[in-house]
Amino acid sequence: MSEAGAGALQATSRRRRLAIDSPVVLKAIAGVLLLALWEGVVRAWAPAYVARPTGIARVFAAVITDPQFVAAAGATLGAVALGLTISLVAGTAVGFAMGRIAPVEWSLRYYVNSLFATPMVAILPLLALWFGYNGDTRLAVVVFASFFSIAINAADGARSVPAEFLEVARAFRARPLGMLFEVIVPASLPYLIAGLRLGAGRALVGAVVAEYFVSIPGLGYYILYNSRTFRHDEAFVGVLVLVTTGVGFEAITRWLTRRFLPWHRRT
């Protein structure tokens, strides 16, 4: 074996032995340390009902299989999914119209931007009065929270479709609908996914806050109720489900981007 080859082999095995500084291991160590710190601080100074890792682990299985909890999670996540779907369809339609038709842009841009900047929490009491103290308000909040970010991104995407693509489509005599679905939609997909990602985060927050306010069954209400009845460990399982949903959505969009938009940022 050549000297260089032997050296490379040695380097590989050394890297394997020192795997303690690899990102995965460091991430795990940091996680364990943070949990230990949390556990220690709560045990030393906090009342017994305060949530701590071992307590959460103890109740986790029971909570996650509790039919009431499952129903609550289903109600919240279902409302988020439905609201996001409404926002995606309507927001994309409005955004594309703004991005491609100048008069629509001129009439709507200012209002869409303003409503995007309006804190959803601030108008929640108004929405509750309009839609009632029930699931409709939650759905309205979810749509309000996600619609404008999706519309604004769709508008940006439709506006920035490279002129050369449109020219090619025209030269090959594409009809308006073909232009929309074969050029404008695929060219704006990266923007649509960015808007959906942003909108999904806001939708999740919106659903939980709506439940806090109007007290309808759901994950947010579950967390609120258990916090107020000193069952913090149980409340925290609800938080974990929300975190997992958010992270899961991120992972899905990232996978979609890698899978279907490999051309993006490479052209």
């Binding site: 050369e164 020219e167 090959f172 005599r173 594409a174 060219a187 997909l189 490999p262 051309w263 052209t267």
Partner: protein
């Protein structure tokens, strides 16, 4: 000499035989205050290759877009096979300097684009796509995306997409302007070979004098502000044109002639200051 290459497979009526494939009369184009070109008269025959050359900003690309129907003339008239051009037409295909490939489509899907829009059946499209990909030398790269292949290969794909719709008029907008010098030469000779196999009317916009002489049966030199046809140079080089053509004394003569026609204008354009 050109008439000798005509065959009866050409699908044109007796009356159309007499008329040119493209007739441009008193064509003018103005953007707001700026007149780009004016009074352009040009007839382009069946299976004729016309190279259009001129300094930057003379409107040669604009003229090509007008011929394609992508832009309306602001004055004058443009007829294709006897009919006024009012928009992109069947039988005309364009190859773009920017390639214009859709990055979300594979090579094969890009080549199929025009056929799909023309409403061909799936089997016919598959056969035609395979044929054209083979013709431009992209066999084996059907399933690659544009970002995975070189600029030269991307333009081969752009050419295949244009050829796939079996155009009677092929419009080339500085097709090799965005590829490196060696690739450019390779593509020029491949295009000439493909043209020999399936000759069409071709309008070739370029700012390379060599390319114009190599490709064209005639070279239209645009000059002036606003520009107009300054000279039409007949290129009496034999076909098929090949690498050997570049070594002919007549080639050098024609190149020098076009160069001296354009030089003064090119110098003026180079030193021009925007006001």
């Amino acid at each position: 000499m050109r008439a000798a290459t005509e065959t009866k497979s050409e699908r044109i009526s007796a009356s159309a035989e007499a008329q040119p494939r493209i007739r441009i009369s008193r064509a003018g184009m103005r953007y707001d205050a700026a007149q780009v070109f004016r009074d352009i008269d040009l007839d382009i025959g069946n299976r004729e290759v016309v190279a259009i050359i001129g300094p930057s900003g003379c409107g040669k690309t604009t003229l090509l877009r007008c011929i394609d129907g992508l832009l309306p003339l602001t004055s004058g008239e443009l007829r294709l096979e006897g009919e006024p051009v009012r928009g992109p037409r069947e039988g005309v295909a364009m190859v773009f300097q920017h390639f214009g490939l859709f990055p979300w489509k594979t090579v094969a899907q890009n080549v199929a684009y025009g056929l799909k829009l023309a409403g061909r059946g799936a089997d016919a499209i598959a056969a035609k796509v395979a044929e054209c990909i083979e013709l431009v030398g992209l066999a084996g790269f059907e399933h690659y995306y544009p970002w995975q292949i070189s600029g030269g290969m991307q333009q081969r794909c752009g050419l295949a997409r244009a050829l796939a719709v079996e155009p009677r008029v092929l419009l080339m907008d500085e097709p090799f302007g965005a590829v490196d010098a060696q690739t450019r030469e390779i593509l020029q000779f491949e295009l000439l070979k493909i043209w020999e196999m399936r000759p069409t009317t071709m309008v070739f916009v370029t700012h390379s004098i060599e390319e114009a002489v190599l490709m064209g049966d005639r070279i239209v030199v645009l000059k002036g502000r606003p520009s107009t046809v300054h000279e039409v140079v007949e290129v009496d080089l034999p076909r098929p044109r090949e690498r050997r053509t570049l070594t002919l004394p007549r080639f050098a003569q024609l190149r020098e002639h076009v160069w001296s026609t354009l030089m003064a204008e090119a110098l003026r354009a180079e030193y021009e200051v925007r006001k």
